[in-house]
Amino acid sequence: MPVTIRLQSADFDAAAEAALLTRGRTDVGAVVTFTGICRSSEAGAPVVAMTLEHYPGMAEAEIARHVEEAETRWPLLGVTVVHRHGRLLPGDNIVLVVTAAAHRGDAFAAAEFLMDYLKTRAPFWKREERPDGTIWVDAKSTDAAAADRWANRPQAAE
């Protein structure tokens, strides 16, 4: 299975990344593309910008472990993960997950699984710039719950 994992400060092109996963092949019946985007407000507070710090070396390894895990759960035909770091402005892309499979159920489930784990297990930390100062974003219990539900569900429904 083709796997691409990139951490970069530069922007990405979601459509181009998705096209790369299907180019020249006829076995892919479903491609799911998820893009996470920097919002201009968080829980009602305006966000001027955000800076993503990461742990080089571990971030790639941790994402690769989850892609391998996804491959054991669903019959995937390709995965691409791109995560940006550095300073981002509202409207900027943050993260891209693209999954390819023969059928949509597997592609949807694998993309959601990867995003849930990226948010809680990949070593990235967001610092928001607000009009009154900067704060490190607190981890959300809802994100932890979203990741936990996969622990008890080995695979997507048949």
Binding site: G36, M58, D138
Partner: protein
């Protein structure tokens, strides 16, 4: 061993990495945090609530009970907020 700090832990400690030689009694990640907390005000502040701090050994997540023997690189950081 090499220690790495990220996010607000890095800011509180005042550096992103350092090399340390913990004493023999430090056998787990939890021991290491306790020892570090005693190294000065900035460390005490950084490690004041060890229950919320996450750790990795050689770039893989570990629990606080994990042994540090043989660890080349130990990282400390807050709960992750990527994606």
């Amino acid at each position: 061993m090499k220690l790495l700090y990220f996010a607000w832990l890095r800011e509180r400690v005042g550096k992103g990495e350092e090399v340390v030689e913990p004493p023999a009694g430090v056998t787990t990640v939890a021991d290491l945090m306790t020892w570090l907390a005693g190294r000065g005000e900035e460390y005490a502040f950084a490690f004041e609530n060890p229950n919320i701090i996450r750790a990795a050994i050689n770039r893989a997540h570990v629990k606080a009970s994990a042994p540090v023997a043989g660890a080349k690189e130990v990282a400390f950081f807050p709960p992750m907020t990527g994606g």
